[in-house]
Amino acid sequence: MELLVASAIGIMTAAGLYLVLRLRTFPVILGISLLTYAVNVFLFASGRLATGASPVLRDDVSVYTDPLPQALVLTAIVISFGMTAVVVMIGLGAFLGSDDDHVDDQPEGTGGAS
């Protein structure tokens, strides 16, 4: 369980970092999505891993898991989801306007409409 979660976070972070360092908008956005998945799982794990434990008070239950990270993850998911939508829209606007989807500034006169 621990190995599974840890390696999932590690692999997603590594793949996300690789994609974030790419040249064009689409792989970078994919990379950011992967990074946010990784960080969501990481936040979840920050309250310690517990299988099948309840986060809210109930009768005849003695083992609980920490509910706070679950609330944090929920907030983080909503925010990252909205942010990804925003960056896709802005990226599309920039691409359609200039026919160029490089993330970095292009040297003047070689690419882009500017």
Binding site: V20, T25, V28, I29, I32, L35, T36, V39, N40, F42, L43, A45, S46, G47, R48, L68, P69, L72, T75, A76, I79, S80, G82, M83, T84, V86, V87, I90, G91, G93, A94, G97, S98, D100, V103, D104, D105, G112, A113, S114
Partner: protein
């Protein structure tokens, strides 16, 4: 507990949807409500600052739940000063946006502006690290919309870079919060301060990683080299009033560093020793060199001002990274100065653009309204470069004075003084090309006659410069107050007592702390 503490967040949060829903097609009503809202913010901010000026700490428990389980807002002398500064800056920027009609060149300027204010105010007032993240996101989401206000390909491309960079920053913030929560089990700042001091000295790996990650996040916001790459393009391409408002956003990063690293990881805590003098101070000095060199090297006026923002943020960071009461006091004085001067410069860039159509640093026929614009540029450039008589000079003196006892004193003095010289050269070159050489160039037949900027625009810029003059005249009182704030920051017991000691719903009087 007074309810006014949450007013700077609730007021813009209610005003923004109202503007979208009720006044969508009426720019006049939008303007009226926006200005009224900002005026009310100034009054509330001044009231809170007055309340906190005796060193007392006002807290607000949301839903009356006591910390550390409930979310709390804290209005102490540091955060109320920043709230007041934001509100005053917002008024000048808003007047400029209305005068120059930037707000009518796209949709929802005023609504996004209010949301942006909500995020900034929240970031200053919150007493909880996760809420700091949430308010960072609120201000960033609004800033994405403002940054690409009125569109254009160049602006959208800069916007993509800006959004992507900040998304990575947000992800890093979440990683830092996750590590802190895993190590300490709390995200309330006052509670964290108590628990970090209890961390087992043999097992500090996790908390040290978290401290560095958090510092990286705030350094991205404060545009510290090597994390400054998002700033020049996005500030240069953003609409002028937006760029001027963004002058406070870099200060949010500086504020967060001051707050978190004096309260949670103070310099005498073993686990983070070396973080400030070995890493933060050299990085700040390098940013200072790069920012001021950028001022000299820039080919366009908007880029020049963007680099001067990096340089002046670096001055603030140099002063903060000394981590002495004198250093923080000088940094706070410089933060106020740098916010006002940076905003004024961005607005002046737009005055130049209105008057001659572009902001390239080449000799062109005189711009419309050049005389007044030149005078304002002269004053703002003097302030930003740190020449007497304006507050930049006093601010730099305070920083140099604070660095006098440090081990790095030689480096700080040499770099601050030489980079000031470079920035003076940069501003002098820009001013002479823009305004003096213009008289030697005859207007071509095909040159369009540009309109003179609106009077209200000049009033807004003049207001900012007037505030700078006041900041200079009352430097003694202001510095005395920032010294009191800084001394209070290094003795956080009243803050922690106010946050953790106030009982809330369901807490009985005899178990008040936890």
């Amino acid at each position: 507990m007074i309810h006014w503490v949450i007013a700077p967040i609730v007021l813009p949060a209610l005003l923004a949807p109202f503007i979208v829903l009720a006044a969508r097609y009426h720019i006049g009503i939008q303007r009226a409500f926006s200005v009224a809202g900002v005026l009310a913010l100034i009054v509330i901010g001044a009231g809170l600052a007055w309340d906190a000026s005796d060193g007392s700490v006002q807290i607000y428990q949301l839903g009356d739940w006591a910390a550390p389980y409930g979310i709390i807002l804290v209005a102490d002398s540091l955060s109320t000063v920043m709230v007041l500064l934001t509100a005053v800056l917002a008024l000048c920027v808003l007047l400029y946006a209305i005068g120059s009609e930037w707000d009518a060149r796209g949709w929802h300027f005023h609504a996004l502006f209010q949301f942006q204010l909500m995020g900034i105010m929240g970031a200053f007032l919150t007493g909880d690290l996760f809420n700091l993240f949430v308010f960072f996101e609120v201000l960033l989401i609004a800033s994405y919309g403002l940054m690409i206000h009125s569109g254009g390909t160049a602006r959208l491309q800069a916007g993509v870079q800006y959004v992507l960079f900040n998304l990575i920053g947000s992800t890093l913030f979440l990683f830092a919060l996750g590590s802190i929560y895993a190590e300490t089990g709390t995200l309330n700042m006052a509670d964290l301060a108590a628990r970090v001091a209890l961390v087992d000295p043999a097992e500090t790996v996790g908390i040290r990683v978290a401290a560095v990650l958090l510092l990286l996040v705030f350094a991205i916001k404060a545009a510290l080299v090597p994390l400054h790459f998002w700033l020049p393009s996005s500030y240069a391409e953003a609409p002028a009033p937006v760029a001027a408002l963004f002058a406070i956003m870099t200060k949010v990063g500086a504020y967060a560093i001051i707050r978190v690293y004096t309260l949670i990881f103070p310099p005498d805590v073993e686990i983070t020793s070396g973080l400030y003098d070995m890493w933060l101070l050299p990085a700040a000095l390098v940013s200072l060199v790069i920012g001021m060199t950028g001022v000299l090297a820039a080919k366009r006026l908007d880029r020049l001002v963007a680099f001067s923002i990096i340089g002046s943020m670096a001055m603030v960071m140099v002063s903060i990274s000394l981590f002495t009461p004198a250093g923080i006091a000088a940094a706070l004085y410089y933060i106020v100065h740098s916010t006002l001067a940076g905003a004024a410069l961005f607005l002046i860039v737009d005055l130049v653009r209105t008057g001659r159509g572009n902001v390239d640093l080449t000799a062109q026929p005189p711009a419309a309204g050049a005389a007044l614009t030149a005078a304002l540029f002269f004053a703002a450039a003097i302030a930003m470069a740190g020449l007497p008589p304006l507050s930049g000079f006093l601010g730099k003196l305070l920083v140099l004075n604070a660095a006098f006892d440090s081990d790095m004193m030689v480096w700080v003095w040499v770099i601050v003084l030489s980079s000031s010289l470079i920035s003076i050269l940069g501003f002098a070159r820009a001013g002479s090309v823009l305004f003096w050489k213009a008289h030697g160039v005859a207007p071509g037949a095909e040159d369009l006659v540009m309109p003179r900027p609106a009077t209200l625009s000049y009033v807004a810029v003049g207001g900012l410069l007037g505030l700078l003059a006041l900041h200079t005249v009352f430097a003694g009182q202001v510095h005395g107050y920032t010294t009191r704030i800084a001394t209070g920051l290094f003795a956080p017991a009243p803050y922690m007592e106010a946050v953790l000691g106030t009982p809330g719903k369901l807490s009985t009087p005899n178990e008040e702390a936890h």
